[in-house]
Symmetry: C2
Subunit: 332 residues, 2 copies
């Protein structure tokens, strides 16, 4: 059987040679128009375009080096993982796509700079940083769009974590995904803010990959999603260009709720939001009725992220004391 994903690596990378030590970092990202559903699960090709903002210094730092003990091994936040850990297995399988059979055992050390208490997934920044580090280790002089294609195969949303600021991931049309990768938007919006309201900082009840596939396969409402999601992505893009936070926020919030609606209708239902998520949302909607200009988005987890402008930061913090505010366009 042809390994369609490996063919992409073979085409984009130079012939495999002994790796060098290399280190890279990448920011996490929050989608304002969501990626949900794959048209090609092997290549992580999406049914719709998506658009995110990167989280500046919240992300991952990954170091790849030849293993002095000639044993593959993975460390996460300083702790050596057992070989059966899903993260270790995914990271080493991904490294294998660069090694292509070469006998070159690796040590992979990843440190997340996203506070654990924020309850944010780190697979996007993790696979983006790993992709950059592996490209450097194997001497692949790829431009970021090429790296983004490889990162996408590791974890879809990782393809948006190659840049800071706003990043759009075009769904693309090519069967091999050559046109399905992130690219940065030129827009700099210094007053733009994201806040994370932690609700549940434990591991996810359902991995998002499995959840996405179950939704596409069983949700009677999924069929209507891709077209609306594509339109939302364009609307978010236009709202960013216009610096129109209301339109951006309304669209992002509706887009996130529609994504969760497709899951709620899956059979059996797929529910990432917790009762406490709804308490946070009700608090937000009451505050908004009282004049707060802030909007919510939720990913495949129970936490809420708010979108607002700098001048609302104090009110957001007052309404949500656990909120952790990020200024994506501040200098590092």
């Amino acid at each position: 059987m042809t390994d369609a994903a490996q063919m992409i690596f073979d085409r984009l990378l130079p012939p495999p040679g002994p790796p060098q030590a290399a280190q890279a970092r990448a920011p996490g990202n929050i989608a304002l128009a969501k990626y949900w559903g794959k048209r090609d699960p092997a290549l992580n090709l999406p049914c719709n375009s998506s658009l995110s903002v990167s989280l500046r210094d919240w992300g991952s730092i990954t170091r790849v080096a030849p293993a002095p003990d000639r044993q593959d091994a993975v460390w996460l936040n300083g702790e050596r993982l057992p070989g059966t850990s899903p993260f270790a297995m995914k990271a080493l399988a991904f490294a294998g796509r660069f090694r292509r059979g070469l006998d070159a055992p690796l040590h992979i050390r990843t440190t997340n700079t996203i506070p654990t208490a924020a309850g944010l997934a780190s697979s996007a920044s993790g696979f983006a940083a790993l992709t950059k580090a592996l490209c450097a280790a194997f001497g692949a002089d790829l431009d970021p769009a090429g790296q983004s294609q490889l990162a996408r195969i590791g974890s879809g949303s990782a393809c948006r974590s190659l840049w800071h600021g706003f990043v759009r991931w075009d769904r693309g049309r090519a069967p091999d995904g050559a046109d399905s990768h992130g690219y940065p938007l030129p827009d700099i919006w210094p007053g733009f803010r994201i806040a994370v309201i932690p609700v549940d900082i434990g591991p996810k009840a359902h991995p998002s990959r499995a959840g996405m596939n179950r939704t596409v396969a069983t949700s009677p409402l999924y069929a209507s999603w891709p077209e609306r999601a594509e339109a939302d992505c364009a609307d978010v893009r236009a709202a960013i260009e216009a610096r129109d936070l209301r339109t951006l926020g309304e669209t992002a919030e509706a887009n996130a709720l529609a994504m969760h609606a497709t899951m709620l209708a899956a059979r059996p239902a797929l529910i990432y939001l917790k009762p406490q998520t709804w308490v946070v949302l009700e608090t937000l909607w009451r505050a908004r009725a009282d004049g707060l200009v802030a909007y919510a988005t939720m990913d495949a987890g129970a936490n809420v992220k708010l979108i607002f402008l700098e001048n609302a930061a104090r009110d957001v913090q007052a309404a949500f004391p656990p909120a952790r505010v990020i200024a994506p366009f501040d200098p590092p």
Copy 2:
């Protein structure tokens, strides 16, 4: 402008004459496959068929009588309503369809036998009982299917409250709705139980008629609903015939969640479920993982209704102390 609804009354009723005093009762009902979305808002013609179970002695008793004081007036649970009350206005507008211009002021007295603490809507039983009482008052010798058509115009789901037990409402095809009414299923299932778990017994935040119309008009996911809902209705019917509670419950629960999903994706979102609703659902799903055979359904409100068999009643009551259990097939 033609009043399409009035034309139905004109066709089905005898020429208007002086009314007599009359009284009728009708049970409430809980849909196991939901009615959600109208293809004709004036006639309350649905986009999909639905199927309910009636709530035996939980319902409405309505008395209609010529007004001795020659003033239209409406009482609800013994209390005279102001003329501006939405219920009074709806009831008198409906009575007007029977009077057809005749000078015949009426006193309408409705008593709900659904405990207020159950937080269940009573418009279905209310309009069904009102239809029966008005038919009797105006000497209209209609069969229940004809009465069901008239009740449907008052409040869609009222057309299922003309009977006890399981009732199916066929969506129908005729433009005038002549084939869109309830009919009783022959199935008697003595062990079948419904429990109401009250979450929020206050008035609805959004009337269901407005919510339904907003969902059809703005929810990108609504387009996929009618076809799935029609299939669910057929599956629920087959599960009743087979006395298969698991299939019935799984289908009813998925159908209710899909209905709420269409609302969650409306723009702006339409959310009847409260955080406490999700707490009840999580409790149910945990109990089910531990072996409890019970399933949930929710209508345009925050309360949860459970579906189970007699042999699970004790466990349901233990898991949900506020549960109020109904045996729809017990003798009255």
